[in-house]
C-alpha cells in the first residue's frame, strides 16, 4: 500500500485530539495539584498527600457553603421542575391563542444576560424594601433554571403519544390519575434530567448568586471566588477536585439510573 499524503480526515483527527486535550488539561491539573504535599498550589509538586482533603473536611466555612449549595440546588430542582413540567404539559398537549409568544416567554430567562437578570431581581426586592435573603437567592435560581427544564421536558413530551393518555381517560381514569399513572412514568427520564440540569446549574451558578446572596451566606462557587482573592491554594484545588467528582458523577449516575429504570420497564 502506498503511503498517502495526510488527508483532511487526518487533520480533523489531530484537531479533535487537541480540542480534548485543551478541554481536559485544566481539569487534570486541578486534580493533580490537589494532592500536592507542599504549601503552595503550584508546581513543582513536592510529593503526594491527602492533607488538603483532610483540611477541607475540617474547614467550617466550606462545609457551610456545601450545605447551602446542596439545599439551594435541591429546592431549585424541585420547584423549577414542578413548574416546568406543568408549563410543558400545557404547551405540548393544548392549543391556545398566544402559544408561540408564551413559549418564548418561558425561555426568555436564558436570552436575558444573567447579569441583567441579577440586577433586575435585586432592584425589585430593594423597591419592595425587602432585605436580601435566602428566598431571593432561591427565586433567582428557579427563574434561571426554568427554561432548561422546560426545553428538556417539552422535547420528551412531544415524543409521548397522546393516545396513551386518551386510552386511560376513556377507561375511566380522571385527568389527575391519568397524569400520575400514565404520563408521569413515561415522562420520568425527562423529569429526572430536568431536575439534574436544574440542580447542577444552581449548584454551579456564581454570576447571579454574587448579586443575590445575603451577606454572610456563601455557596461553594462564591466561597471559591472569595478564596481566590488571596491566592490559589492546594485547598482550592482539593475543593475543585471534590466539585469535579460531584458534578461529573451526578449526571452520569442519573443517566445510568434512568437507563436502568427504562430497561426494567421493558424499554
Amino acid at each position: 500500500m502506498a503511503v498517502r499524503a495526510p488527508t483532511g480526515w487526518t487533520f480533523i483527527k489531530i484537531a479533535t485530539v487537541l480540542t480534548y486535550v485543551f478541554m481536559f488539561a485544566p481539569v487534570a491539573v486541578v486534580m493533580l495539584l490537589a494532592f500536592n504535599a507542599s504549601q503552595f498550589g503550584s508546581f513543582p509538586m513536592t510529593g503526594l498527600s491527602f492533607r488538603w482533603f483532610v483540611e477541607l473536611a475540617q474547614n467550617d466555612a466550606i462545609i457551610r457553603a456545601f450545605k447551602t449549595s446542596l439545599l439551594l440546588g435541591a429546592l431549585t430542582a424541585v420547584i423549577s421542575t414542578t413548574i416546568g413540567v406543568c408549563a410543558s404539559l400545557a404547551m405540548v398537549r393544548y392549543d391556545f391563542p398566544g402559544k408561540n409568544l408564551l413559549n418564548t416567554a418561558l425561555i426568555a430567562p436564558i436570552l436575558v444576560p444573567e447579569v441583567v437578570l441579577a440586577v433586575s431581581l435585586l432592584l425589585f426586592l430593594q423597591f419592595l424594601s425587602m432585605p436580601k435573603n435566602f428566598v431571593l437567592l432561591l427565586l433567582g435560581h428557579v427563574i434561571f433554571t426554568l427554561p432548561f427544564v422546560v426545553l428538556v421536558v417539552q422535547a420528551r413530551l412531544v415524543g409521548i403519544r397522546k393516545e396513551y393518555e386518551e386510552a386511560a381517560l376513556s377507561l375511566g381514569a380522571n385527568p389527575l390519575q391519568t397524569f400520575f399513572q400514565v404520563t408521569l412514568p413515561l415522562l420520568m427520564p425527562a423529569v429526572a434530567a430536568g431536575m439534574l440540569f436544574a440542580f447542577t446549574i444552581s449548584f454551579d451558578d456564581i454570576t447571579g448568586t454574587l448579586f443575590w446572596k445575603p451577606p454572610g451566606v456563601e455557596t461553594v462557587p462564591t466561597q471559591i471566588f472569595a478564596m481566590l482573592r488571596n491566592s490559589i491554594s492546594p485547598e482550592i484545588n482539593a475543593l475543585g477536585t471534590v466539585m469535579i467528582l460531584i458534578t461529573v458523577a451526578l449526571p452520569l449516575t442519573g443517566a445510568g439510573l434512568a437507563r436502568w429504570l427504562a430497561s426494567r420497564r421493558g424499554g
Binding site: 480534548y20 393544548y94 436575558v112 426554568l146 451526578l250
Partner: protein, 289 residues
C-alpha cells in the same frame, strides 16, 4: 379530545405557576430597571425618585462606556470565532467517525460543561501562572530562565471564555451535522466532486444553522460575563458586565447600574432578535434537548 370549541381553561391553569414566576421575577423587575435608570443617586447615598436623564447622558456620551462596550463586543467576537474554529473539527469528527462509541465521545466533550465554571476558570492559573504547569515545563527544559508572565491579560480572558463556551458550540454543530443525510455527500462525490468540494458545497451549508446557534450562544454568554475577567483578566480587562457589577455591588450606584444593564440588554437583545429574524431560536432548543 374534542373540547377545542369550548374555552378550555386547563392549559392556563397548568401555565399559571410558570407565568407568575416569569412575570414577577423577570418581566416586572426588568421594567423596574428601566424606571430606576431615570432616578438619581444623591450624595447622601440614597435614590432620588424622579425623571432625570443624568445617568443616560453619562452612559451615552462618556467615551469610557463606549470603549468598554466595544472592547466587550470584540472579546465576544474573537471568542466566538475561536470556538467555531476549534469546535467544528471536533463536532465533525464525532458526527462522522466510524467509531462505535460516538455517544461516549460526545459525552466526554460535554463533561467539562458540567464541571464548575469557577473551577474551570481558576484552573488556568494552575497552568499559566508564574509557578504553573507551562512555566514549570519551560524552566525544567531550560527554555526560559525566568518564569513568563502569561496571566491577567486579554488573551487569558479569551482563553478562559473559550474553555467555558466550547461545549455549547460543539453540541450545536454536532446536532446539525447528525441531521444531514449521508446520501447527499455520497451523491456529490458520485457526481465528481472532491471530498473537500463535497464538504464545502453540501455539508458546510447544511450545518450552518448549528454553527449559527452555537455562535449566538457563545457570543451572548461570552459578552455578558464578568467572572472570567475578574479571575483571569488584568485591571484593564473589565468587560461591560464588570461595570454593572461595580456600579451595583461596589459603588451602590443603582440608577447608574440600571442604565448600564439596559444598554447591555439592548445590545445583546438586538443580536438575539436579529438572529431570530433570520434563523429560528428553535435551533438552540434542539441543541439543548
Amino acid at each position: 379530545m374534542s373540547d377545542a370549541e369550548t374555552r378550555d381553561m386547563r392549559p392556563w391553569a397548568l401555565l399559571s405557576p410558570a407565568l407568575t414566576a416569569i412575570t414577577l421575577l423577570l418581566a416586572i423587575p426588568t421594567c423596574f430597571v428601566v424606571v430606576y435608570s431615570f432616578w438619581l443617586r444623591t450624595a447622601a447615598g440614597d435614590e432620588q425618585v424622579g425623571f432625570y436623564l443624568d445617568n443616560w447622558i453619562e452612559v451615552l456620551t462618556d467615551p469610557f462606556y463606549r470603549d468598554v462596550l466595544l472592547y466587550t463586543l470584540k472579546i465576544g467576537v474573537i471568542t466566538t470565532i475561536c470556538c467555531a474554529l476549534m469546535g467544528y473539527p471536533a463536532a465533525y469528527f464525532i458526527a462522522f467517525s466510524k467509531m462505535r462509541n460516538k455517544a461516549f465521545l460526545l459525552l466526554l466533550l460535554m463533561l467539562p460543561f458540567w464541571i464548575s465554571y469557577i473551577i474551570r476558570t481558576m484552573s488556568w492559573i494552575n497552568i499559566l501562572g508564574v509557578s504553573g504547569a507551562v512555566n514549570y515545563v519551560l524552566q525544567s527544559l531550560g527554555i526560559v530562565s525566568e518564569p513568563l508572565q502569561m496571566l491577567y491579560n486579554e488573551a487569558t480572558v479569551i482563553l478562559g471564555l473559550i474553555h467555558f463556551l466550547l461545549p455549547f458550540m460543539v453540541l450545536n454543530i454536532y446536532v446539525s451535522l447528525e441531521g444531514i443525510d449521508p446520501n447527499l455527500t455520497a451523491a456529490a462525490r458520485s457526481l465528481g466532486s472532491t471530498p473537500f468540494q463535497a464538504f464545502r458545497e453540501v455539508t458546510l451549508p447544511l450545518s450552518l444553522p448549528g454553527l449559527a446557534a452555537g455562535s449566538l450562544l457563545c457570543f451572548v454568554l461570552g459578552s455578558g460575563t464578568y467572572i472570567t475577567p475578574l479571575v483571569l483578566g488584568g485591571p484593564g480587562d473589565g468587560m461591560f458586565a464588570n461595570l454593572i457589577y461595580d456600579a451595583i455591588i461596589t459603588q451602590l450606584n443603582w440608577p447608574l447600574g440600571s442604565a448600564l444593564s439596559i444598554v447591555l440588554l439592548i445590545v445583546l437583545g438586538a443580536v438575539v432578535l436579529l438572529y431570530n429574524r433570520y434563523l429560528s431560536l428553535g435551533q438552540i432548543s434542539k441543541g439543548l434537548g
